[in-house]
Symmetry: C2
Subunit: 370 residues, 2 copies
């Protein structure tokens, strides 16, 4: 055994460096000029494991404000971090009200009905709330009409403890998109009606759009986890905090004219050495990598050949020194050498989907050196 | 609350009907003319939950032989079913040998090195094994050269308790593909050297290729779970055993010229009602459904508009009676009305990937009526 740690080291592994996530979080805060920085830990911390990532951010990076998508994630996070501020982005259903109160969860109120629902609760134990104003993504948040009502009708916010006003950018990945400036202008106008309440607009992409977008709180997700949220260059100093390693199951030599995988979609033009790796789409390595993905083995970048199977892929290892490889040998599918940006480019999937697509079948290994 | 069962019913849910899986398993056995039928439960039983599916197959459908992909899945299944026959498709690493023995797991031996490794173990407690002969998919299994060696050199199988010989079809989804007949002929030739050992060739697609392909054991996966493994028509009587339901978070009315979602990739040509649903790609609903997926709500099929977000999608509900819908309303994303075949066609993803892509963020609900 290589590490001697565990039999399961001989499975495919997902190694997550919590020190690097903390480092990236710190870089995000620097990029935002020291603006307060929330931790986005929805979707199991973007597939990195909320149970490990959230405490690392809280205890080692002084992150105090967290965002999750839904109620179940919030309950989980509350068990992990009794003291954290937790916002629930998806808002609140009437049936969940008591549990928001008893677990001290802050709803992001997304329409006037939710505002009124929250307002009617006795204020004694009621947590603070965020108000989400939609400025154009048309997904969640008060519509422009509701926004005007909310601003003009003082009764609608009477008694509410609003700890945050926020909006969300639709096109922050593209600094050139005129929608960014439109959303910024609309949000700025809204903030003037709430001069004493902290405001937040920027996700990872928004952080990179510059100081105008930072307001009082930024909400990095992808950038913490080593993805590039922008069409522009990756910010300096952001590091890749994870590595997906498969193992070679078998190596075979095939002749010219022989095909590999389901549907026989790839045929060797000359004799090739083909390694079968123990990672497939059931691990989150999508069939969008059929015949176009890359792996990294013993210093050589090697192509995925044929279709991705449920539990396996095949890679052409002809260019690797055959003396150096064999069954049980490590193969990087995602990490420092095969970055999210590279994987997204060849697969046409987004970095976000590739990252959150990583499945629980991996043996997760946490390390802490930064 | 609708069911009164659980607060988490108000999350997105994955309802799995174990009775229907058993029904489909029985249909598979009928389609295979009564041939013995294994249960393929790799990848967490194709995303349906091995902890529930495997015992249902064992105790209620008399399924005795199970296949998993890897060692970790096998250990899990052994805890669930102490009596089952468990084959591990990925083969065996030398570091795992002791655990195969102590947990009574049968390796599928995929090359001569694995054969020799297994042969060297003292036969007293050594479980039986399967030998996998590759007949053209070039993924796992003895190569033609190794196959000839194994057949001709009696020493290679001396003392081995071989309980199964097998191969795997590359193109069984297409009954017209000439590769099927080639693989069948090659496998038949191999079986003649092992007249007393049960043989297996057919996955779900192979079952539908007809009696020649059935041999002594068939290995259905997708068909048990309601997918169609063939380009031909779906076999009669196969039913859909699962349903993915999201909830409406919010409904908004947008005007002509307004866009929805990240990148503003969808723009309304006229006023529309847009519902935001609490399912996104972090739940396994891929961005391959951007602007082309479908959902089913109150009897109406409605289109996904804009990009799929991490935790949400937007659907155009203008054609649904507005009196009938609102927040917390159920929306089918996959199930009886939005079948795997339909979802695969619009997304270009395979039914297999869509099925195994379903993520753990859903509240899983098991029911048993068939």
């Amino acid at each position: 055994m290589a590490s001697g740690d565990s039999l399961l080291d001989y499975m495919a592994t997902q190694t997550i460096n919590l020190g690097t996530i903390i480092h990236n979080y710190t870089i995000c805060r620097q990029l935002a000029g020291g603006t307060e920085c929330a931790g986005l830990v929805k979707a199991d911390a973007y597939g990195m494991g909320i149970k490990h990532v959230a405490p690392a951010l809280f205890h080692e990076a002084n992150c105090r404000i967290f965002f999750v998508a839904n109620f179940a994630e919030a309950l989980k996070l509350r068990q992990i971090l009794p003291e954290a501020v937790i916002y629930v982005l998806n808002g609140i259903f009437s049936s969940h009200v008591d549990f928001f109160i008893s677990h001290n969860l802050r709803p992001v109120l997304n329409d006037l009905a939710q505002v009124i629902l929250w307002q009617r609760i006795s204020p004694e134990n009621r947590p603070a709330c965020a108000i989400h104003f939609d400025t154009g993504i048309n997904r969640l948040g008060l519509s422009p009409k509701e926004t005007a009502q909310f601003i003009n009708d003082i009764n609608l916010r009477k008694g509410l403890d609003i700890s945050l006003i926020m909006s969300h950018l639709a096109c922050s990945d593209d600094p050139e998109d005129p929608m960014n400036a439109r959303q910024l202008a609309d949000f700025k106008t809204i903030t003037r009606s709430f001069p004493d309440i902290p405001a937040s607009l920027a996700n990872s992409g928004g952080i990179l759009l510059g100081p105008d977008y930072h307001f009082d709180l930024v909400r990095p997700g992808l950038l913490m986890f080593g993805g590039n949220p922008s069409k522009g260059a990756m910010p300096k100093n952001i590091k890749i905090p994870f590595k997906i390693l498969g193992k070679i199951l078998q190596i075979r030599t095939i002749g010219a004219g022989q095909s590999v995988g389901y549907g026989a979609t790839w045929t060797a033009k000359q004799p090739r050495h083909i390694a079968t790796i123990n990672i497939g789409y059931a691990d989150g390595y999508s069939q969008m990598f059929n015949n176009c993905g890359w792996a990294y083995i013993k210093g050589v970048k090697v192509p995925v050949v044929g279709r991705v199977s449920m539990d396996m892929i095949a890679v052409d290892v002809t260019d690797v020194n055959p003396q150096e490889i064999g069954p049980e040998c490590d193969v990087e599918l995602l990490g420092p050498h095969i970055t999210l940006e590279m994987a997204a480019e060849v697969s046409t999937l987004s970095q976000y989907e590739i990252l959150t697509g990583v499945r629980e079948r991996y043996q997760r290994i946490y390390i802490k050196n930064s």
